[in-house]
Symmetry: C2
Subunit: 197 residues, 2 copies
Amino acid sequence: MKKSDQTRQRILDAAAVEFRDRGFAATRLVDIAERAELQTPSLYYHFSSKEELIEVVLALSVERTFGHVKSSVAEIPADQPLRRLQVAIEAHVVKSQEHGDYSAATLRLFGQMPPDIQKRLRRTQREVGGFWGELLENAQRAGAIRADLDLSVVRMLLLGALNWAVEWYKPSRRLSVEDLATHASRMVLDGIALPPG
Amino acid sequence: MKKSDQTRQRILDAAAVEFRDRGFAATRLVDIAERAELQTPSLYYHFSSKEELIEVVLALSVERTFGHVKSSVAEIPADQPLRRLQVAIEAHVVKSQEHGDYSAATLRLFGQMPPDIQKRLRRTQREVGGFWGELLENAQRAGAIRADLDLSVVRMLLLGALNWAVEWYKPSRRLSVEDLATHASRMVLDGIALPPG
DNA sequence: GTCTATATGAGGATAGAC
DNA sequence: GTCTATCCTCATATAGAC
């Protein structure tokens, strides 16, 4: 890796944290520069504007998590649709926590980005939505999911629960990321109520 | 209601929309003033600063939804803990959608507010958390919820799914708010998977 | 690649009339 | 209560040296 790439990475990591904590407009380039340990104008060697910075942060966030979800699911045979769903849920939780700064920044800022930025990012978002939609549809067609559920609603409730975890989860001895992921998949798939009887 | 109160309400409604769409720092007082149909300096007759405005929006948001949840749950006997939980979930969904501008603004901006504002608002947040925690604990003690679940994790996953709905749900003939609420309670309580067999 | 120095525009807040 | 006019601070972005 070239030195330039390392600096670029440092800037992005710093930007993710600052954007998450302060929001887009309130984040000053000098905050990002300080965290990345260089001077403000040096940022412009790597990025052409503050908007380009946030756009890269948001794009990386989604791509990383989704990439891991896709590859994890690919390892499970298609004839185990419920197991595929479980793996997807747990992979999503684990990976989004792994770069939680980026995930949380995306969660908070995406909806506030100017329309042109949102438009470019929505391409990936649709791809993600389509992938989860297929996972759910395949499971429902196989009779593994209740037939009377609206899967687009389920998908959004599900992703809401998972994505929101970056807002509150902090790794601890009591609750590992894997425990969190397991709780998520169990709640969504089996529910929290004890089956009657 | 005095005229002053009406204007105050118009300003708050306008502020919720603008803050939600642009974030705190990027929202200009002139945007809020235009939406509320007055001039920028007139805002200062009703509020002493931009920060006071956001703080009132955030406080109102949580109080309204939580107030409705509490009063809805109070109508259900304590010996039906699962039913109480279901009612709480559905009340939370319905009421948070009812003033969706405020809810979405809170969802996006709370974590970005300066520490002193967050601190003051956390009092109510803890109250809300405690209430949901008791709902879950009572149900678990009554044997209605799986004994091996960490209820604080369940609570946060659950509220994440519900709160995130203000980001994506739009009322339609196909899916009423009540349908959304039902889907949420069913997913959380019973899960989406068909019981085996 | 990173720096110092600076131009420039914008928005929160106040003064004071009506 | 709401207005017009204005102050003053501050942050993005650029110029240009090293």
